[in-house]
Subunit: 405 residues, 2 copies
């Protein structure tokens, strides 16, 4: 009887712990599985033998339920990218797998984490080892290939739309022209920024007036013209902009600096929201405010999407099912079977087809500083408010310890 090892890697999300809980539950239900271990701080911590027995640490269903409602990463994360094989680290990993009698390795993360799964699975297969490696998808950016969407995205998207509705409401209280520029995560893929467009539906009111995704090049003059035009119509203009928008020449707008004399205002380092705030102040001269939603986007458990929470748990359980069925080198993917009523099914895809790839927003779903109806239809079922604010504490790693609320 072999043991299970689970790790988390990459950036936090509101629901990655639900994937952990789903995997732990499914592993416990199997008679083929012995102990369920957690690697603290991913593959990096595993290489340092920083391993906890999740059976002992999360003994009761009650602890798993709390874990599901807890944002960020209970086991901690790492950003360690494994070197190209051959490399001694793979021998070390295999030796540790044998030491802990691991038969099943699950890694919850994004495309860098899938690279780790891919490399370890390929190494083990080449060695003739029967240790199964399965990737469990997670990224708020929604940019993994071979899956309709990724767990973590819907909750971040739901936070963004709800928060954008609050910002729009706040921005409208004064009877004078203003611009509010909201910077949203997603350096290369505009899925999260697009989600801001649903603020109006969340609030029964207005949505942002302009939405700029990184898939389309950003023109500074065109931006100023659009702000002026919207201001003439609505007075208080709200803009959603991806942190990763670039000019036609490929320069990140958020990294532009300049003097008071040039197009980009005073020397700025605060990202695209700050750069555009300075630009509007200088060129339009209205009241202007840049807002960076920052890590709140990925940590806001209270705005977790009901769809996302359920799917995050399901991909964890599905990963265990795939491994027990003998699969390895696969990632659990979500296939959307129907949009209305919304229905999905889970499949295993080759993790090598996911690793190091990015899935961007299709250009035909993007309008002129706007999000087109097919993209809104894609987004809606993924962003479903929970019936009640989750009441939970927070799990975190303190060196060798998994600290619980």
């Amino acid at each position: 009887m072999k043991n299970v090892l689970i790790g988390q890697s990459g950036g936090p999300s509101a629901v990655i712990n639900a994937s952990l809980a789903g995997a732990v539950r499914a592993a416990r239900q199997s008679k083929a599985v012995g102990r369920v271990y957690g690697a603290l701080n991913g593959i990096e911590g595993f290489l340092q033998r920083r391993v906890v027995d999740l059976g002992a640490q999360l003994p009761a269903e009650e602890a798993l339920a709390r874990l599901c409602a807890t944002p960020a990463m209970a086991l901690g994360s790492c950003r360690r990218k494994l070197p190209a094989p051959p490399h001694e680290v793979y021998g070390q990993i295999l030796a540790l797998f044998k030491e802990y009698n691991i038969g099943y390795f699950f890694y919850i993360g994004g495309n860098d984490s899938m690279d780790t799964v891919d490399k370890i699975a390929a190494f083990l297969a080449a060695q003739g080892e029967e240790i199964r490696c399965i990737g469990i998808p997670k990224t708020i950016d929604n940019d993994l290939a071979e899956t309709d969407h990724t767990p973590g995205f819907g909750s971040a998207a739901n936070f963004i739309a709800n928060t954008m509705a609050q910002i729009i409401c706040d921005s409208s209280v004064y009877n004078r022209p203003s611009a509010t520029i909201v910077e949203i995560m997603g350096r290369n893929a505009g899925w999260l920024t697009a989600a801001a467009a649903l603020a109006g539906e969340k609030s029964g009111g207005q949505g942002p007036h302009l939405v700029f995704l990184p898939e389309v090049s950003f023109g500074v003059e065109a931006f100023l013209q659009k702000v002026r035009a919207e201001q003439a119509k609505h007075q208080n203009v709200v803009v959603a902009v991806s942190e990763g928008v670039r000019t036609a020449e490929g320069a990140y707008v958020g990294e532009m600096q300049g003097s008071a004399q040039d197009d980009f205002g005073h020397g700025t380092l605060g990202g695209v929201g700050q750069v555009l705030e300075n630009l509007v102040r200088e060129k339009i001269g209205c009241k202007v405010r840049g807002i960076n939603l920052n890590v709140l986007q990925r940590a806001a458990g209270h705005f977790a999407s009901a769809t996302d929470l359920a799917e995050a748990e399901a991909v964890g359980a599905e990963g265990v099912r795939l491994a027990l069925a003998g699969e390895t080198g696969k990632m659990v993917a979500i296939r959307r079977v129907s949009n209305s009523p919304y229905a999905v099914e889970y499949t295993g895809v080759e993790v090598s087809r996911v690793a190091n790839k990015e899935r961007k927003v299709p250009l035909e779903w993007i309008g002129e500083a706007a999000v087109l109806p097919p993209l809104l239809a894609y987004l809606r079922p993924l962003m479903v408010d929970l019936p009640a604010l989750p009441r939970c504490g927070y799990f975190y790693v303190d060196r060798q310890r998994l600290v619980q609320p």
Copy 2:
């Protein structure tokens, strides 16, 4: 039978609309009151005859209930400060009061708004007019004199503590030293920044490691030393800092600029969070992130405090009671009768004692980059999570119209 006029002024909060709803309900219940008017965009809009009939616009209790759960300001706001009397504007206001047959004027706002109430009440009294003017307190900053606390504060404080818990959890996932610096509103009074200290209680986990209020002067070297010391203990250090911290010389830290060669990093304009982020990056060299909670602090209806919501509504109703009892030139104040169990009573105080004053955090409640137990005891009953996430739309003003969800 005289009519009622209600206006909102100053910055938005999560519960100022509950004060509006409380006043509307109480006015409707009185047989002495005719119509209930709302001034759009405060006294400024009133001077432009931008007035709506709230009886027609919010006819049903259901609309008032939704209003209570809606952040920002349904009637819109203004920042208009009335000139010192004598001035023709007072005659204009009186003429408009007569045109609309106003007998009772309620103004919901902070200390600038109380200045407006004070001046209009004094003018009307000097003219021998029997129009009653009552201030209804509102400010997230909690800096109004003559009241234990202000409606709006508890909800912003509750958002800050809950969000800080999420940020702390997010900041702890990587196993390497980091600093996260969270900038919080409150330029001269540190009440909101102090509320961050309750993040640990909200999460069952850690609170911020360092808390800097504007009442105490901020030393750059001492700050760096404290970050280094906390990092040695906790690795991932989280700092709560007021936007208004100043050096011993009185300079706002958030306005400091410099070159790569000096103490404050590259020329920065992003406020104290950005300045300290650059400083830590340069002087300590660890992973560092500045986060500005921005207007989310005052717009986050989902984290409204149950205490705050109930009190905001009560001060609205209490204002109407005072006016109907013949009072004028008063502000509704909250007196804390008991802390455990928490109980308050409402009184009227001279609005002239509130106007243009600021109530800061007592120095004996502030520790060394920390909040002392008496301040925590003061804060706790004001920051009570609602049992469920409010589901509401957003009200806003579109020129002459109050738009409803």
